[in-house]
């Protein structure tokens, strides 16, 4: 027994040895900052000095129309962009998997290509393409679809459309890859049986493909929603280049928080307080993910 105990202790020590570097980095750069934010939310900064204000930051947040407006934008983008992207990703995945045989690999590669770009790089490319005097306007005018250039990046409605188009360009192929993997896991015999029973292709899609892909679709839905909730790079680069501006048609919550903390007021207490709302929403999304996706895997 004593030998056994010594061996267990040896194993336990070895285990701690392997995880120690990660644990140290985790404590310093993740756990401590998160815990210290509990202190930050109770402070108010004026210039370089800060003082205790209790729940004052929360009260201020509730009355901050610009913040709720920005968060509202996140939801608008989410509700419109995510379904469009997931529908397209699903359509392309089914096209590649069931519709064609030749060049399947090539199309898959090309459709995934946008996903390798950095968010800043593709946002800059879109910004230049969509400038008032840019290629998009020139092309549309030459084709006779526009009489005069339009402000893709500044007009409230058009700027939102721009962000939606950009996000869809960047992420459709990425989500399509998940759906393709999902499709590969469906037994072809199910389709053969349906074929024998005389089910149409459309019928097969709604009766077989879609129900069997529900877990993958939910996964895409949750990750995309969570990504849109944290949207920062695209609106900062593409549609809100003026760094000291706190409102705009495509201002998002993360961008508003960043500008409050680093561009406009450097009030970290208030910025941290607002970030708690995003944490809360992300937590709810994660809960949904575990509840619905985790349950399915059992």
């Amino acid at each position: 027994m004593r030998v056994q105990g010594a061996f267990q202790r040896y194993l336990n020590r070895s285990g701690w040895f392997f995880v120690a570097p990660a644990v140290i980095l985790f404590v310093v750069f993740m756990a401590y900052p998160i815990l210290s934010s509990l202190y930050l939310v109770t402070r108010r900064w004026k210039g370089l000095t800060d003082s205790f204000i209790g729940l004052g930051n929360f009260a201020r947040m509730l009355n901050d129309g610009l913040f709720w407006h920005a968060l509202g934008n996140n939801f608008v983008l989410m509700v419109i962009q995510v379904p469009i992207m997931i529908a397209l990703a699903l359509i392309f995945a089914v096209m590649l998997h069931h519709g064609i045989r030749r060049f399947r690999g090539l199309f898959r590669l090309i459709l995934f290509l946008p996903a390798i770009t950095s968010l800043v790089a593709y946002s800059i490319l879109f910004r230049i393409l969509l400038q008032t005097n840019g290629l998009a306007n020139n092309l549309l005018m030459q084709m006779g679809l526009l009489q005069q250039p339009v402000a893709w990046l500044n007009d409230p409605l058009l700027a939102n459309i721009t962000i939606i188009v950009a996000l869809t360009w960047r992420w459709t192929g990425y989500n399509m890859i998940f759906f393709l993997v999902g499709l590969q896991n469906i037994d072809p015999e199910i389709y053969e049986a349906a074929e024998v029973d005389g089910a149409s292709k459309i019928g097969q899609f709604f009766r077989i493909t879609l129900p069997l892909l529900v877990p993958v679709i939910l996964f895409s839905l949750v990750t995309s929603t969570s990504g849109t909730l944290q949207l920062f790079d695209e609106p900062n680069v593409l549609t809100n280049p003026n760094q000291s501006q706190l409102s705009g048609p495509t201002m998002t919550a993360a961008l508003y928080i960043y500008r409050q903390a680093f561009q406009v007021s450097s009030d970290f207490g208030y910025a941290t307080t607002m970030s708690y709302v995003i944490v809360l929403l992300a937590g709810i999304l994660a809960f949904i993910q575990i509840r619905f996706l985790g349950g399915r895997n059992k």
Partner: protein, 274 residues
């Protein structure tokens, strides 16, 4: 697939037509970007789609006044050091969690996973104060250290280590091998695919990182490529040709890794964040 037969049908022609149009839309910004490297600023904006003769001029601007080589080196240094340190630290942790069970460590692993849902904006505010208290703002370490340990990479590698039989570890232990030696000489070499995916994931995350460097990098000497292009496009006069050179250079390493290691690349990217 049984339902795909090599017969002619209008439906199939239609599918290929749609996919070709979509492919064109996916590729077009890249083509326009590469052409842009050879054009003068005016032509880039207008959307000239034939190659020009300004490549050397644009290259000269990118590498001269716009410091492409310095910023490229900064990006590369940060990404490579993060990968080397990160893969070591995270692979060790994944191995430790998977091959040495204890209730305390299992609990810790759960806490790690919990932080995966933390939105970046919520972490960086207090993290910025910490980094600034350490006095390492505007250094490479400000960007490397906080992103060396990655809960996702540990989770990902642990999944991989689960496929590595515990019996082999036990057999090597009976033969008198030390724990570190079992890890470096037996476990790690059998995990090349997982390690490659993890390395690609960490490289791309750091290479493309924007928000955190935007906050912690204050001077040109530590600036990375995403920041360089961001300040270029926000300048009063935008040097579009040079900008296209910088963007193309920033995409090249990712593109090369993607084409060379598609399978590992996709596995790695699946873990990256929006």
């Amino acid at each position: 697939m049984s339902q795909v037969r090599a017969r002619f049908s209008y439906a199939r022609v239609f599918l290929y037509l749609i996919l070709s149009v979509v492919s064109f839309l996916c590729v077009f910004p890249f083509i326009w970007m590469v052409l842009g490297m050879t054009l003068n600023p005016n032509e880039v904006v207008k959307g000239t789609l034939i190659p020009g003769d300004q490549f050397l001029v644009n290259w000269g601007k990118a590498t001269g006044p716009y410091n492409l080589l310095l910023f490229g080196f900064n990006s590369l240094f940060i990404a490579v050091v993060t990968v080397v340190l990160g893969v070591t630290v995270n692979a060790m942790a994944a191995y430790g969690f998977d091959k040495f069970h204890s209730r305390a460590r299992e609990w810790l692993f759960g806490v790690f996973l919990l932080t995966l849902i933390m939105p970046q904006i919520a972490v960086i505010l207090p993290l910025f104060r910490l980094i600034s208290a350490f006095g390492i703002l505007d250094t490479y370490w400000a960007i490397i250290l906080p992103f060396t340990m990655s809960a996702f990479v540990i989770f990902f590698l642990r999944q991989n280590f689960q496929m590595f039989p515990k019996e082999i570890v036990e057999a090597a232990r009976v033969d008198g091998a030390g724990e570190l030696r079992i890890f470096t000489q037996i476990a790690l070499p059998s995990m090349k695919a997982g390690i490659a995916s993890a390395a690609i994931l960490m490289f791309i995350t750091q290479w493309n990182s924007y928000l955190w460097p935007l906050i912690t990098i204050l001077s040109d000497k530590t600036k990375t490529l995403p920041l360089a292009m961001f300040s270029m496009v926000n300048a009063y006069t935008v040097e579009y040709g040079g900008l296209m050179v910088i963007i193309t250079v920033s995409l090249l390493p990712v593109l090369i890794v993607f084409l060379a290691m598609q399978k590992h690349f996709v596995a790695g990217l699946v873990g990256s964040i929006k």
